[in-house]
């Protein structure tokens, strides 16, 4: 069944390896990298200088949270908040030789503290509360710390009347925190209800991939929803859907263009234009 599925997926997009919670090694060591979309061998440095976009086919590579902030915020303007928060491992999750607490520790030793970074920043001179998810941290999964930091950002945005910009990249809720992670969907959405009542502007930016509990909570609640081109965005992952219905998924299914066509996002914005578009939208909303 797995083989069959891989074949089906291959038809959807050449070289695409299906949805996986494991971070893709989109930037392997070495000077040259292969573009997963057009298969061209690319000089790594030229891709990095091009905002991690393939110069040949405009494929948007996945980028981690720090890099996203460097690309999006005005130089040196990001003031991080909540960096000290660490998961308490509420279930004491340990199974199949995987100890959740140890994994969290090994991430913090590498200097990565969670799957979201939040803080005050400027985008083209406009003050914002910026939250950026980090897919390289346990698949960008939402646990108690992601929920807590998100709410911290919302509260601060209300307090200081700042627009809220959230860049999502997530496989969904964090399994290791069980129903506590599920509760973060309610928590982030409830905080956004308050933000809404304070007439705050929430710009939600969806990047590859945004699925599961993050899509089914704050990511889809933007006043304005932007997606990067060809990002995978959905509730259920394509693999789950295929295993349920056993029907080949249509071309371009659950991609940004599909969501635009079905009326669930406002616009698709090339990474190169993200800063200017966000700035313009903030101006229109008078924030």
């Amino acid at each position: 069944m797995v083989n069959k599925q891989t074949k089906t997926m291959a038809k959807v997009k050449p070289g695409w390896d299906g949805f996986s919670l494991k971070p893709k090694r989109e930037m392997p060591e070495g000077l040259w990298i292969a573009c997963p979309s057009c298969q061209n061998m690319l000089y790594k440095k030229s891709v990095e200088e091009n905002l991690d976009i393939c110069p040949e086919c405009s494929h948007h590579f996945r980028i981690d949270g720090r890099k996203r902030i460097r690309q999006l915020a005005d130089d040196g303007s990001f003031e991080e908040m909540g960096a000290e928060l660490v998961s308490s491992d509420p279930l004491g999750f340990s199974a199949a030789g995987k100890n959740y607490a140890e994994r969290i520790r090994s991430f913090s030793e590498k200097g990565q503290n969670e799957a979201i970074l939040v803080g005050k920043a400027f985008i083209r001179g406009r003050g914002v509360m910026l939250s950026v998810m980090d897919f390289s941290f346990l698949g960008g999964s939402m646990g108690m710390v992601v929920g807590e930091k998100f709410c911290l950002a919302v509260e601060k945005a209300i307090e200081e009347s700042l627009p809220l910009v959230v860049v999502s990249a997530s496989g969904g809720a964090r399994m290791h925190e069980g129903v506590v992670s599920l509760g973060q969907m309610a928590k982030t959405s409830a905080a956004l209800a308050r933000f809404d009542e304070s007439r705050g502007l929430f710009i939600s930016v969806l990047t590859d991939p945004t699925t599961g509990g993050v899509t089914a909570s704050f990511a889809m609640l933007g006043d304005i929803i932007i997606a990067e081109p060809r990002a995978l965005i959905g509730f259920a992952g394509p693999r789950t859907i295929y295993e349920t219905i056993k029907i080949e998924l249509p071309e371009g299914f659950q991609r940004s263009e599909f969501l635009l066509e079905h009326g669930f996002i406002d616009m698709i914005v090339h990474r190169r234009d993200l800063r200017s578009e966000i700035g313009r939208l903030i101006d229109y909303c008078g924030k």
Binding site: S88, P90, V145, G147, A173, G178, E197, M220, F235, F253
Partner: protein, 369 residues
């Protein structure tokens, strides 16, 4: 007598209930023997005591995976059983005014005790025809939108909302994605957090992830004793951890998905006791307990000013996984069983009941439907 025997034969057993099935069969056989003698009357009585003791032994030590199996028992009461037994004159309301009417989420006006409420429930369907119609309890976006549309109606007319959760999860299909499954759930979460009427949520069977949460945000959260609530199905979790769905028992253990564990985590407020041996063995007692819980809780919630209610709800939601989140303790408290359902009371009942009549204790009393 004939009727009772039929019911007995109709009961289905879970893989770990072999000994219970054996005792049940022996009782049935004795009853079927022509003419009841004093001898087999007393043997039946002894067997029934045996049965009750065995049920108590087994059901006070269920593993998490066994709890999941009980929550999925083919004869477990479903939302429509509660609706029919609890509410005499309900009025079902259909349609999301947008795309369609999802039978996996039922919405109705009804009266519980003296209280008029809006009742929302996830329905799995009893026979195969119903199951297919209800998509096995997996709602589509129009189900969540219907629920929200009716909640807004309840808000307008000041009716409290009671939701019954029983779903393996929201449906993962092409149509569901095209019509915005994620968006529909997300909007419900936001709107339920600020709906200006009391909301009570009760997990009656399976609390499957975001699909359950989509009608599961409110002032109070209760769960039946052998229901479960989880971020992912044990099979799905096992698939990720071991690439093998058959290790679901281990995954169920790791996920802390049983009622006592959820209470410990602060996710649920109340555990509603089920009849000995699970809700399917005594539908009426279980429905009664749920009804009592709703009546009592509504009385409390209606006393509160709406602004306080909303502030408490907001704080409660924000506290999930907050900085003062309790770390789960290794020792889990067992729920308190009301006296009426205690094993001692049931044993006494067996003594009292003459053999000619169908016993209600220890034997199933689920209505055939």
């Amino acid at each position: 007598m004939a009727n009772g025997t039929m019911k007995n034969n109709g009961l289905q057993y879970l893989p770990f209930e072999n000994r219970i099935a054996q005792i049940d069969r022996k009782i049935t056989d004795l009853r079927e023997q022509a003419g009841i003698t004093d001898n087999n009357a007393s043997r039946i009585r002894l067997l029934q005591q045996d049965l009750t003791a065995e049920l108590k032994r087994l059901y006070s030590n269920l593993t998490p995976w066994q709890v999941v199996q009980v929550s999925r028992h083919p004869q477990r009461p479903l939302f429509r059983d509660y609706l029919n037994l609890m509410i005499k004159d309900y009025r079902e309301l259909h349609g999301d005014r947008c795309f369609g009417d999802d039978p996996a989420i039922v919405t109705a006006f009804g009266q519980i005790g003296r209280e008029k409420v809006l009742i929302i429930g996830q329905e799995k369907g009893r026979d195969i025809k119903e199951k297919i119609a209800c998509n096995f309890g997996c709602p589509n976006p129009e189900g969540y939108r219907k629920a929200l549309a009716k909640m807004k109606l309840a808000e307008k007319f000041g009716l409290p909302v009671v939701t019954f959760i029983d779903t393996p999860g929201a449906y993962p299909g092409i149509g569901a994605e095209e019509r915005g499954q994620a968006q529909a759930i997300a909007v419900n979460l936001r709107e339920m957090s600020r709906l200006r009427v009391p909301i009570i949520c009760i997990v009656i069977g399976e609390g499957g992830s975001g699909g359950a949460l989509g009608i599961g945000v409110g002032d109070r959260m209760a769960i039946l004793q052998y229901a479960y609530y989880s971020v992912i199905s044990p099979e799905g979790c096992a698939g990720i951890l071991w690439h093998d769905g058959t290790q679901a028992d281990k995954a169920a253990q790791a996920l802390c998905l049983t009622a006592p564990e959820l209470k410990e985590l602060g996710i649920v407020d109340t555990i509603i006791p089920e009849a000995l041996g699970g809700a399917h063995r005594n539908l009426h007692d279980t429905v009664y307990n749920v009804e009592q819980y709703i009546t009592r809780t509504l009385r409390d919630l209606k006393r509160m000013k709406i602004e306080n209610l909303l502030e408490n709800r907001y704080k409660k939601i924000l506290a999930i996984g907050g900085s003062d989140q309790k770390v789960i303790k290794s020792r889990i408290e067992k729920p308190k069983i009301p006296k009426r359902l205690s094993v001692e009371a049931q044993l006494r009942d067996i003594e009292k009941i003459p053999i000619e009549k169908e016993s209600t204790a220890g034997t199933p009393t689920r209505d055939n439907d």
